[in-house]
Symmetry: C2
Subunit: 189 residues, 2 copies
DNA sequence: CGGCTCACTTGATCTAGATCAAGAAATCAG
DNA sequence: CTGATTTCTTGATCTAGATCAAGTGAGCCG
């Protein structure tokens, strides 16, 4: 079983035949550090799976950048509103390190239902899962302090903190790098 | 065409026959002011459409309540993670006023695909739309001031501000009622 | 090895928005 | 209509976290 199949299996309830079929649509690709997977305004006609490396999802404002998310190995990456609704994509997605991904393009993606009968159900569960993740995130902004938000991310994704410049993590948590630095210091005692 | 069909049409690309079939599954219900549509911890085995009135989605913390969302007429309401994944629901949903809804129960909901061939596709688009709405909301917390968040909600949903106590709106925007009051005052000039 | 460039930390100060407290308005029940 | 309750406003004060400004240190490349 390939890495990709292995990971697909952790997300989706597929049997070996289905795994093989789905995985066959994904083509390996490499991004060099700094390469863009996607640019704001372009159409995102693909969905990818991160095998290794780091992809940062962000927007450029006039005076600063806002990081929305960082995808590490084992995550999928795309701009959903662009992929599904054909809208210009809202995010830039850039490789923070050399990154290995598997990519399925939109036309293949949209055909998956023909080959995998339970694809529509699977896809629904997948998007619903993404929805509830964001729901939690909204809730964290409504109800938690910076320190609490930091702790939750840290507990759930420790590796991230060794691999990614603090400023990006701070931005996706809605705080400054200085604040994270102070939270860390405080927690030493 | 009933109210419900009319609204379904604004969300979904159904023809008249499909509209009729889908609408037939929804049963009208009335909630009195203060009634609960759903309680934290219970299973949410239904999806509803708000015809009139107001439903507040919130969580009780030890020391306060956090309002996640308020559904007005024309919105759907459910706890998606509970409906789709059978988890205990995370939110309380309570009627702020007498409220008229149309409800489809989970077993019927899960059968829709049998009667409406394009239901799976439609459902996917619907959930994806909800996802991007939350994505915008997360982005608003990462990049905007209280005043900017207030303005966006106010522009997109003016009626809400006449109908709902300020404290609930404040909570769903992640600020206090006093802050909204001051933003308003400031904007008089 | 020494000089650059980033990333991170730390301190000093500032500020958006929270909290606390008191009135004023509006809404509601009898 | 009247008193009670809830909601909204306004002021005074406080604080979490931002901003600004120096350092410190760790890779990296010549």
């Amino acid at each position: 079983m390939t890495d990709l199949e292995q990971y697909l299996q952790t997300y989706f309830d597929f049997d070996q035949t289905e795994l093989g079929k789905v995985a066959a649509f994904f083509k390996p690709e490499m991004l060099k550090k700094g390469d863009y997977y996607l640019r704001t305004g372009r159409s995102c006609n693909k969905l990818s799976f991160v095998q290794s490396g780091l992809l940062r999802v962000y927007v450029e404002l006039e005076d600063r950048e806002v990081t929305q998310w960082i995808s590490t190995n084992g995550y999928f990456i795309t701009d959903l509103s662009s992929l599904v609704f054909d809208k210009p994509s809202r995010w830039n997605i850039q490789a923070l390190t050399d990154t290995a991904i598997y990519t399925i393009d939109k036309s293949d993606y949209n055909q998956l239902g023909r080959y995998i009968p339970k694809w529509p159900q699977t896809e629904k569960l997948f998007i619903a899962h993404c929805f509830t993740t964001l729901e939690d995130r909204v809730f964290s902004f409504l109800s938690m302090t910076a320190e609490q938000r930091y702790n939750i991310l840290f507990e759930s994704n420790r590796e991230l903190f060794n691999q990614v410049p603090l400023q990006y993590i701070a931005s996706m948590l809605g705080m400054t790098p200085e604040t994270i630095s102070r939270i860390r210091r405080k927690q030493l005692f």
